[in-house]
Structure formats: C-alpha cells, structure tokens
Symmetry: C2
C-alpha cells in the first residue's frame, strides 16, 4: 500500500473526475462519475463513493476538491458557482464528515495553477500567473510559494476584468469582460455565426456538428486551424491578440516572471500563443526598459486541477498558511529583533 497519497477531485460542468495523487504529482489511479454536478448532495455522495473505492488500494491522507466557482478564503465553502448553480455550499465539512479525512476545497483554476507551479510549466519560477482559456477565462496566482487567494478567496478572476467599455454582454452581468474577447466562447460565437450566415466554412462546421448550429463548439475551430484553414487560424489569432493585451494589463499590475496558458483553447498551441506574445510585446508598458515575462503553455493538461487540489490538500492537512495577525506580528518581530541586534552592536 503506497503512503502519503491524496485524492484529487475535479467537479466539472456535468461530471466528476478523480485521481489518487502521490507526492510527486503522479496520478496512480483514476475514476470518473457521470453525476449531475448541479446537485451538491449527489456530488458529496459521489466523492464519498470514489474515496471509499480508492481506499481499498491506497492509503489516503486527504481530499482536495477543485470546483469552478468562488470558494471562500477558508477553503471550505463554494460561495457562488454559476455553472453548477451552487450558492454558499459548505462542501468541505460535508465531505469531511462523510469520509473522516481532512478536506480542502478550492477554485479549479487555483488548483491547476498550484499544480503547474509544483510539477508543471512553472517548476523553476518564484511566482506564477495561470490563465485558463475554456468557455470563459479562469486564473490563479502563486506568489513566493503560496497560492494567492486574496482576502475573501476570490482572487484570479481575470476573465471578468473589463477591457471594453459597454462591450459584449457577459454572463456575470457586466459588459466588456475580458472573457468575452479572449476565450473559447469567442470561437464558438464566430463558428455559429458563420454557420448561420451559411459561409463555406460555416457549412463545413455545421455538417460536422450534425446540422445543429448550437452543437458547434470552439474546439472544432481549433481542429480546422491546425489543419491550416485560414479563417480558423485568423479567429484563433484574434483571441490570441486579446489574450496578449490582457496579459500586458496583468503584467502592469503583477509583473510576474511567467504567464502559463492552460485550458482547452490552449490546445491550439502556437497558433494562439504566438499572437498573444506579439500583442504582449506590443502593449506592455515600459517595454524596452524592463525584463519581460515569458508566456508559455501549461504542461499538465486537463488533469492539472485534480493534481493541484490533491497536492494542496496533502500539504494543507499538515500546515496552515499564517493568518493575518501573525503576518503583521512577523513584521513586528522583525522590527524588534532588528532593534535588539542594533543594541548588541
């Protein structure tokens, strides 16, 4: 029986993906459940079942859950998950009661960012900013070896930074959010419009989607771009351009050494990342007088969230990040010790 293992759970839009993850970030076993993830109770049941099944073969120490939504700063409650229709769901304690194990809940992008920092694209970096391009844009920040979640747990929601005043309507209620210009939904929108307009490429896409406009998804565009279709390449380059502009904004604020691009849209590879790099270099403030962050693709693929959630749970079960008062206390202590050292001189 292997030791030092944690279960990682990724709650997607319609199903649950789970794995047993070791201390090197390797997945030793996998399970999937086609569960209506909009129902918290069914999700809790599924996690308990999965964990029980894993425990027959493995010595599990903790459970990490990644969910697409706002998770509170104590990593216990899903505050708001529009795609899952969850509101203030106390997932951590429910799963802990059912399994008797330490549980951690985090935003799925935060979990993926942690995995890329620990085991993936940013292994040799101090800090990391992850941008996941799926239907929308998710994000994560790792600073000085710690996932940075903000005061209320909701940092990294880059997709909802406004980039166009009175721009495209966003599902979040605002207009002009970045994810309206630089995510998979842009490709889907363009592809469906082409199908509706009946362009040649639109007809091809429509046929491949079984004749249903609403069945056309962005990954079809990626496939055609990789096969050399000019229109598809242009649409992805347009997304890449907006990606680079937004990255320049984040660099102005955060100045990390590396941006890691993950999520399904990043399957387009250099077709996406090259235009992003060009736009970044064109729009970064102070360019020419500063070092520039590298923009790279994520390494761990769609299982990054599962790996990161498990890893954070394993580490957090043993250690908690110092709370706010002690951060301040640390500075005071430094000031004090600086004083006493001064006196000793």
């Amino acid at each position: 029986m292997a030791d030092k293992l944690a279960v990682g759970i990724d709650i997607g839009g319609t199903k649950i993906a789970a794995g047993v993850v070791d201390e090197d970030g390797h997945i030793l076993a996998r399970l999937k459940r086609e569960t209506p993830t909009t129902e918290p109770l069914e999700v809790i049941d599924a996690i308990a079942d999965i964990t029980e099944e894993f425990r027959r073969e493995h010595h599990i120490r903790a459970i990490g859950v990644g969910a697409a939504g706002f998770v509170d700063a104590t990593q216990s409650t899903v505050l708001f998950a529009p795609h899952l229709a969850w509101r203030h769901e106390p997932l951590r304690d429910a799963v802990a009661r059912r399994t008797g194990l330490p549980v951690l809940v985090d935003n799925d992008a935060n979990a993926a960012g942690w995995a890329e920092w620990r085991y993936g694209a940013a292994q040799n970096e101090a800090d990391l900013v992850l941008i996941t391009l799926g239907t929308g844009i998710g994000g994560a920040i790792v600073i000085d070896g710690q996932p940075y979640r903000g005061q209320f747990g909701i940092a990294g929601e880059f997709g909802h930074m406004q980039v166009v005043p009175n721009g495209n309507q966003c599902e979040c209620g605002n207009r002009g959010c970045w994810e309206q210009y630089a995510s998979g939904r842009v490709l889907t929108r363009r592809a469906r419009a082409a199908a509706t307009e009946g362009t040649d490429f639109g007809k091809t896409l429509l046929a491949e989607a079984g004749g249903e406009v609403t069945a056309i998804e962005g990954h079809l565009v990626t496939k055609h771009a990789q096969a050399g279709n000019d229109e598809a390449v242009e649409w992805i380059a347009e997304v890449g351009d907006w990606l680079g502009v937004g990255i320049a904004n984040l660099a102005a604020a955060l100045d990390p050494g590396m941006f890691v691009i993950g999520g399904g849209v990043s399957d387009a590879g250099e077709l996406l990342v090259d235009p992003a790099r060009a736009a970044f270099s064109r729009t970064l403030t102070g360019r020419g007088y500063r070092a520039e962050a590298r923009i790279v693709r994520a390494h761990l693929g769609p299982e990054a969230g599962l790996i990161g959630a498990a890893d954070m749970a394993r580490l957090t079960a043993r250690r908690r990040r110092p709370a706010n008062p002690s951060a301040r206390a640390r500075v005071r202590a430094t000031a004090r010790s600086s004083r006493s050292r001064t006196r000793r001189k």
Copy 2:
C-alpha cells in the same frame, strides 16, 4: 540622541523632500532641497548633504529612497523614470558609497503603500492595494506583510492597464491607459479645454492661473468642487467613476480587503471616493455573492512615501525577503516535514 532612525527621501519632479523617521513612523526632522532631480549626480549630492546634516542630531541607521519610476527587484537601480529622465541609474550603491549607510531604493508608490499598511489607513489589514492619483496613477501592493514588487520589481503600475481600446494617447506610448481616464491629468485637460473654449468656469480658472492656459492645474478644479461648483463636481465624479471601474478590475484579479486612495487628487475626498464606491459596487463581478473590499482615503498625506521608504530601509537593513529558491525550498521542507510527521503516526 535618538536611536533606531532612518532617513526617508522622496525624489519628486523638481525637488527632494527628506525626513528622519522613527520606528513608529513619526517624522522627527524635515529638509527640502530645490534640486534639478533630472540630474542623478545632483540628487546623490543632495542626499549625501541632507544625511550629513541629519546625522549631526540623529543616529541614522539606513536610508530609504522613493523615486517615481521603475526600480529593479533588488531595490538598487532606477530602471526607467520618465519624469526624471533617468535610465538604469544605480542609485543605491552610489548613495551607499557616499554615506557609508545601508540604502534601499523603491518606487515612490510602493514606499507610500508600505507606510499606509504599517502606520496609516491599512494598519489592521492583511493585504493592501494602494492607488495614488496624481498627474498619473501609481500603485502598490502589500501581501501578507510584504511589499509585493513582482519578479522584476515593477508590479503595481496600475495606471498603464488598458481600459479603452484605441483610447486616449498615453505618455507611455500606449493608448487607453487607465490614468488617461482616472487621474489628475483628466481634470487638468478638462479645465484647460474649458479655458480655451471660454466657458464661464473656464474664464474663472484662466484668471486664477494668471491668464496662462498651461498654468491651469487639476487642483484648481478640486478647490472649486469643494466650494460647490457643479461643473467641477461633475468632472471629479467622472474621474471617480473611472476609478471605481478600475478598482473593480483590480478586485477581480487581486481580491484585497481594502483599497487605499492616495495622491493629490484624493484631496477631493468624498467628491471623488463616493462615485468610485458607486462604480465599484455597480461593476464588481459576482457582486452579491462575495464580500466587497472597502475603499478608503489614505491617511498619511504627501509624506507617506518618505515615511515608507525610511521604514523599509530600516527593516531591510536587518532582514532580506527570502529569495526565490528558498521559497520553493520552504514548500519542499513542509512537504518533507509533513511526510516525516506522517511516518511517526
């Protein structure tokens, strides 16, 4: 002779302000030099003179310098200071050689942010985001009791995040930067336009500026707004509105507990901050499902930079932030100790 003191230096556009700062953030002595701050050598001379003068009365332990520009991550070199026309100026070592004291150089907004966190508006906060509204927009981030400077030292340049595609031309070379919509230069621009157009309010402003359109500055608008002039109030509210929109963007990315608004434009008080709060609450993503950051005015006024630079220099002379490898080493150590504790069970 008092002990545990540091000199704080603020290099402004045309002059140098300096103070002796104690460990409680109080300024015990002040000096100003009307020096062409565009000349690094004259600035170094002035800092050496000032320090010598302070040392006659005080036991100085370190010197902290705040400058409006990009400062590298080792806090030694001013990489790029458009207003001072400096390029790659190794200020730290030059001042250290002249004075024989430990020296730290930082961006002026970083220094002000640190002062507000230690002694000002954010004394009881874990994290802080400072936004200074002067001619442009500066910024600073404090996370978990540490000034956050990014990988290359240039974090917090919020003013150059693009908020309007193809928007107003910015001095940085880009278009549509936030500081083109939410800083003192907006007030100056409006006021000068009114003077040129010859509106009633424009004529008043022109007369107060001695008949020179280019002598009209934003603080005149603030004065009239405080006296109840509708037009001036509206201009400041417009700046406040853009301020709130940008704060909502920063909250999406960073989710801090508090935003502190400093700089000369913040003298407008609630005339500025109330519209900012309204725009923030209107545009924050996920509003209603999350706690919202407070938006407050800075407490320490124009001497915040000087106080913060001195304080950072005093603390840093004794302690250095762990470098990148040790951040990663810390995580590894935690993982190791977690493992060994697991074994002991």
